[in-house]
Symmetry: C2
Subunit: 129 residues, 2 copies
């Protein structure tokens, strides 16, 4: 498991993770992993994050069905940021955001304010029952 030792975990034992849709290049979301989460992600081929609010592993899609199939795990030049290239499963087009949108990055800066630019593809009340 040397590849896990190569990572410069932060003082909380975490590393920031960017999830990008492999097919479109869209940046879907940003989350954190601890060592167990990254090991599990590589083992399953599905994204497993560490939820900082709940302090436990979070297999993305476990509630919503919006699993992320992992095609590539990449690491940056400083060994302290991970990039996942994924297919966002469970809905077409993929929904990565808990608001029911494709991407979490749906707010765009325009003339001094943040404007929502992406449609809600599915009512969150229908995603999390």
């Amino acid at each position: 498991m040397n590849w896990l030792d190569d990572i410069r975990w932060d003082d909380k034992g975490l590393v920031p993770v960017i999830a990008q849709e492999a097919q479109t290049g869209d940046v879907l979301m940003f989350a954190w992993m601890n060592r167990d989460a990254l090991a599990k992600t590589a083992e399953l081929g599905e994204a497993v994050y560490f939820s900082r609010s709940r302090s436990k592993l979070w297999h993305k899609g476990e509630e919503s069905g919006h699993i992320q199939k992992v095609h590539a795990i990449r690491l940056d030049c400083d060994n302290d940021v991970v990039l996942l290239q994924v297919t966002q499963l469970g809905h077409e087009p993929g929904i990565a955001c808990h608001t029911g949108r494709h991407s979490c990055f749906f707010q765009k800066y325009e003339n001094g304010q943040w404007v929502s630019t992406e449609p809600v593809l599915k009512d969150p009340g229908q995603i999390y029952k």
Copy 2:
């Protein structure tokens, strides 16, 4: 400047920032901004980060010439991660990484190890004189 107040700055007054190449969708790098850095980025239309190691603003490209022209500033659903969509200037193809590579995410996980997958486009000794 209300749009800056909308951001949930962390306990160090920082927010994580992902820089993505607008034309290709490639994720180029990951860095941090404080309030001044984000205000300056919006004002200049060029990426200005906060260097945690040097504890000061870092106008990307100030030494290397590898300026990032900013097309869009996006914010995630939790208001605590910023996504910049940029054109990476100063070299063709663009060099975002201090190692002289296009992207900082040039290490790929393969069979239990990290493998470098992108060529060095320019010798770092020639970039930082």
